[in-house]
Symmetry: C2
Subunit: 342 residues, 2 copies
């Protein structure tokens, strides 16, 4: 996989040797993004099965992988899918079955993201009809591009599809403190795809929306309740409020593996990961001499806290862009698209 | 003055030699904060008068100082106050008059901030009545403390007064990208005053408010319309929306010199300064070896933009904390407190 902690300054890939390496890669965010965490978890279980396919070993591996990050539900979904297959099989067959299923999850994710791209590109095309001459301005938060998935991305897939279809667009990239996934990963992706974009502080989006400089918002999700509440990178909720206040459509792009059908109240029921305060007190960047390093931005002795996600209530979400099309962020909307899941 | 660009890593003061130095200190944010910009502007005009007290020279100095930063209205207010006095006086008397008036503006600012502190501390005390045993949690954005004024501060004055009165409180400090005035200046002030505080990413406040972890917000202002719209550091508007959505009181603390009685529509009428994109693409911090340096956080080639302020419509402001007490963020509220100004 791509070591995302080195971006945008260095692009390096590395292999995961075993289940422990997969768990560590998820925990330290060498890989991140809800769909990619799911795929990495599935391969982690396959690596575990290759080493020791006993029930005891696989139960321990499942628990270790599930505990790496608590918020995104794709991880549990992918682990459950592989685990169910393995439980029903003889130990000697398990490794091969697990690799096959992990590969299927990866391939399905690519297909789902491409379908999300097509559905979302239609929304971007519709937005062009309101404008006269200027690009469609899309605001996104965090990174929900191909780095966060296996290919295409969720929030960025519609942008790539629309750009390739010749639609004149421009993306406002929230830097997404504290880990700067917007400034480092989304900007890196868009730069490499040749998509016009501008990095802004997370604080800027409300001002832009007040002044008509955002036509629509598209973000990803780490978990969505069956009622359409959306848990995504911390700060997403603030942008949804600003979009609502200014009549800007606010869309969330997600594969169905991100939907947690068990819950109906995102604020109350989704566990929000709290990460190291060091991600707030220190910022990683490239110094003038080319060295990538952390610098301290707070005074010695000032504490910090670092919640990684927040929940946007469904009432602030204009629509959910899924691999089966766009629906309202409501239980009825989701059930209509996914009668077989709900 | 204190060189604020070196904080929180080094505390150094330096003198302003002439009007050009004062203008540069305002422009490059060696001094910042609406009230302090006003005082620095007044002293800048005094320095100009000491050098050349002719009408032509003072008109040029006034224009140069006024052009340094467009958004905060205290600068124009202080310059107008000194200029009016000088125009009516003989050139030989002007330097002494200007120094006297600048000192008066500075002293009045201290008194106004202390009065704001007393009025705001009463609001914090009132908030303690709702709680049971835990500290009052106050969220603030940017720096509106003694560094931003001559002493006490605006938003932080109530916090200092309440803390000194023994009220158990805790401050959530928004880091305030892109220049990190919260993480660097507000944290520095609170640490040195012994006020319990925690630095958070700008993205976090909405999540905290959804979970009952903020009892009230207090921020400063760079300009307030006569109708109560508040222009303050970029991102203030997003916090006001979240406060509104969660029933959290949102107060703005300001001396009357921050009120622009000429205008009634903040979003349409207040000029929003756009600063260098480098403030977004690079972050200043202290490396492991103690050196303070800028590091690049975006990919080479990704553009950035950097608006410094936004406007919070009056309907999202619970009240204005002024040197004459607290009033509604409405024209009637302001006129009642300031019948002599309006």
């Amino acid at each position: 996989m791509v070591d995302q902690t080195l971006l945008p300054h260095r692009f390096e890939t590395r292999a995961l040797a075993d289940c422990d390496a997969a768990a560590l890669a998820i925990r330290d965010m060498t890989v991140r993004g809800a769909p990619l965490i799911g795929v990495t978890g599935a391969y982690g279980l396959a690596l575990a099965a290759a080493e020791d396919a006993s029930d005891v070993a696989l139960t321990a591996a499942y628990a270790k992988l599930l505990a790496t990050r608590p918020t995104a539900v794709n991880l549990r979904w992918a682990l459950d899918r592989v685990q169910a297959l393995l439980t029903a099989a003889a130990p000697a067959e398990r490794a091969a079955l697990a690799y096959g299923e992990a590969a299927r999850i990866a391939d399905e994710d690519v297909a789902a993201c491409e379908a999300i791209g097509e559905a979302g590109a239609a929304l971007i095309r519709a937005a062009t009809e309101k404008n006269t001459g200027r690009p469609v301005n899309i605001l996104t938060h965090c990174n929900a591009g191909w780095l966060a998935t296996v290919d295409w991305g969720t929030a960025l897939a519609p942008i790539y599809k629309a750009a390739r279809a010749g639609i004149d667009l421009h993306v406002w990239v929230d830097e997404t403190r504290p880990r700067n996934q917007g400034a480092s990963l989304t900007a890196f992706e868009l730069l490499n795809e040749g998509v016009p974009h501008t990095v802004i502080a997370d604080n800027a989006g409300g001002h832009l929306m007040q002044h008509g400089m955002v036509d629509l918002c598209i973000v990803g999700a780490d978990r969505t309740t069956r009622t359409g509440d959306v848990c995504n990178k911390i700060g997403t909720y603030l942008k949804a409020l600003a979009a609502h206040d200014n009549g800007v459509p606010f869309f969330v792009a997600l594969p169905s593996s991100t939907i947690d059908w068990r819950i109906d109240d995102g604020v109350a029921q989704i566990p929000i990961e709290e990460r190291s305060p060091r991600e707030v007190t220190h910022i990683s960047g490239r110094a003038a001499d080319g060295a990538v390093m952390d610098v301290l931005v707070t005074p010695d002795g000032s504490p910090a806290r670092n919640w990684a996600f927040d929940v946007t209530p469904a009432k602030y979400v204009t629509g959910l862009i899924t691999e089966r099309g766009v629906c309202a962020a409501t239980e009825a909307g989701l059930r209509e698209l996914f009668p077989d899941f709900a």
